[in-house]
Symmetry: C2
Subunit: 415 residues, 2 copies
């Protein structure tokens, strides 16, 4: 039996309905923030992702040559495609530009809980503005989105990559080796970061200072300890966030976010219930467009791991109830089946979601099928009732039945 490929999933009707429901909430929230949807191809020139993330990304890519010998790759994320799209098609549009996207991404890695080879991301980019309000707007939207899904337990942590970058440059880490150090610090691998920096000639006291900076974590009051421009900047971001009602922020100067294209504010959200794979959202301000052949343009964006956040909601006990259909139409006898077809067509045209018995089942079996498709009503079409232009309407939850003129069916069912 052929199965779906390892690390990918089939979504059956109940699961899919649930996913569309939550996707709809994210979509609605993005709309209230004035963000508009865009869509890019499932695969791109592999170079795009190498430019964004470095050649190491190839290890995790589904990359291959097409029949025209082009190196293409299934997208592992959607920020690079969105910025490529901006450079190609939107660079002359009025700024700032607010876009969001939702879709499949692909990474070849070992599947585990909340980690798939085909996974779904919801993301947004605010392109062409570099103000504290811009960063606050994007964080506020991420916050509103997580909230719109009803997730209760999560932490939103905000940092500023500039503080740490400045500090390690001042301490003598060469510019082209900063990324190595930041990666260790991002994962709090102090045991590895210390000898690395020592090799670069960084003094022990400076290393201690750097470590202590990455441990600067707390409520917004810790910002008082953050010096210079970055501190001023974050204080303004936080001011706007508070005005927009974003609560329970944590400041964490240890948020580095692995990738070295971030330029300033960085943020993450975590759902502790998820254990090791607890990050549900990450983002920050960056520039990428110049890498793809455009002018340098400042942007702020984020992505939400849709699969993980659904997992977190589930762990909190949230249950989604599938809606089912409005009506199931069945015939008492063979001679009224054409009339049943007419009736179901009329219901559908009126906006009622209606199924109809297609297999000529006897009433008991047909009613059982009506239950299994979660119909709220059964419409029972019988010859005798039809003579008076009526059918029997059965409430599937109570079992109550009454005669209803055919023309009144839609209003009775939709009320």
């Amino acid at each position: 039996m052929i199965q779906c490929p390892r690390g990918t999933r089939d979504f059956l009707p109940d699961e899919m309905e649930k996913r569309r429901f939550y996707e709809g909430r994210l979509r609605h929230t993005a709309g209230t923030f004035g963000f508009r949807e865009v869509e890019t191809p499932i695969f791109e020139d592999a170079e795009l992702f190498i430019l964004r993330s470095g050649p190491n990304v190839l290890k995790e890519l589904y990359a291959f040559k097409d029949k025209g010998d082009r190196e293409i790759a299934l997208r592992p994320e959607m920020t690079a495609p969105a910025i490529r799209m901006f450079v190609n098609n939107m660079s002359n549009d009025p700024k700032p530009i607010k876009v969001f996207y939702f879709g499949q991404c692909f990474r070849y890695e070992r599947p585990q809980s909340g980690r798939y080879r085909e996974f779904f991301q919801f993301g947004a980019e605010l392109i062409g503005s570099a103000t504290p309000e811009t960063d606050a707007e994007v964080i506020a939207m991420a916050y509103a989105m997580i909230g719109s899904l009803g997730l209760r337990e999560y932490k939103l942590r905000i940092g500023h990559i500039g503080v740490l970058r400045q500090k390690i440059a001042d301490a003598g880490v060469p510019r082209d080796r900063a990324a190595e150090v930041l990666q260790k610090l991002d994962k709090k691998l102090y045991d590895e970061a210390r000898p690395l920096m020592e090799d670069m000639g960084v003094a022990g006291a400076d290393i201690d200072d750097i470590f202590s900076l990455t441990e600067t974590v707390g409520g917004t009051e810790v910002l008082d300890r953050v010096p210079g421009e970055a501190g001023d900047y974050l204080r303004r971001v936080v001011g706007f966030l508070e005005a927009m009602g974003v609560r329970d922020l944590e400041i964490d100067l240890g948020v580095v976010r692995g990738l070295d294209y971030y330029t300033g504010m960085v943020f993450e959200a975590e759902a502790p219930s998820l254990g090791a794979e607890k990050q549900i959202c990450g983002g920050g301000s960056y520039t990428l467009s110049e890498l793809f052949g455009g002018e340098k343009v400042f942007s702020t964006g984020f992505a939400i791991g849709f699969d993980r956040i659904l997992l977190a909601i589930e762990k909190e006990g949230q249950v989604y109830e599938p809606r089912g259909i409005d009506a199931y139409v069945l015939s008492v006898s063979e001679d009224v089946r054409l009339r049943a077809a007419e009736i179901v067509a009329g219901l559908r045209a009126a906006g009622v979601s209606a199924d109809v018995d297609l297999m000529g089942r006897k009433m008991g079996k047909a009613l059982k099928h009506a239950s299994s498709v979660r119909a709220r009503y059964a419409v029972i079409v019988g010859a005798k009732e039809l003579e008076e232009g009526a059918v029997t309407l059965r409430d599937m939850s109570t079992g109550e039945q009454c005669l209803v003129p055919v023309g009144e069916l839609p209003s009775r069912i939709l009320c």
Copy 2:
């Protein structure tokens, strides 16, 4: 500058909004018919598509080996994945099962008008029932979907592969070579079909009969000329379709639909405005599940070419107007920007789609941006008005302005 790969597209906000609008209509129609959405992976074991369509399909597939040396392929269509999903996960569910899906498919072929390497299909499968009503239900849904998009000029043609299969078998075409003949007949390549059948020893008079059968085209009255079981069956399908209000059917026994897994009724819809690439929908009844390791189960399904049908709508002059946003909030002076942030947050929480000036623009420029994002209202936040708890609400289409208490903004804007 990196471009999106040949034959793929970026969808910018206006285009994307239009596509989601029409997708929503298809989705709604499928819902009224009691079909439920499913989703399968973007790629599958390549074997799945070879089993369905024969090894020739490999020429058109985006097929490659993953890092685990598995032969995988980007899906060229979604019927095979849907039936694989059924075999793997749904084979014990109550029948019939009604599912639909919407998404990207991939074919490596020369891009041309209405033909892309990444294209979008909307499809549905009704699994586990083999009655005339089943076929009618599926055709009626395709008809309702096309109608829901507002397409005016199109032809819906219904045939029955069984009539032609029986005829060519009776004439002496060996069973294992029927597909070759049917492919020629499907494309009306009579000059090639004749020598092919002559080689198989088919008599000239029988060949003439076969050709004339494929030319049996017309209104439902031509069914009187269709003999045997297939004729009876199609008459019943048409009877149900008429009861469901499906008009202007054409019967066409030349509809063969290339693939040899169809077992009975086949149908197609064409939009003549599209020229050579005019087919917008195709389907029929088939069995596939046994190929994928399941029991043999009869199904009826169809797919709509979403890109092509949108092209047809456009050619008919249908124009979609993007909706824009409800409100754009701007500050008269620097000191009220935090209050503006509060106000925009309040609007969004009330369900208003609202953008806010993030760049500290002067009023004239900010109003210009409000126009460019198609805001219906501008909310002008000034210190003096705020003292009285009010802001200026400007109707962007008329330019009329009035003072509105902050608390009344959502109801004034959403009314």
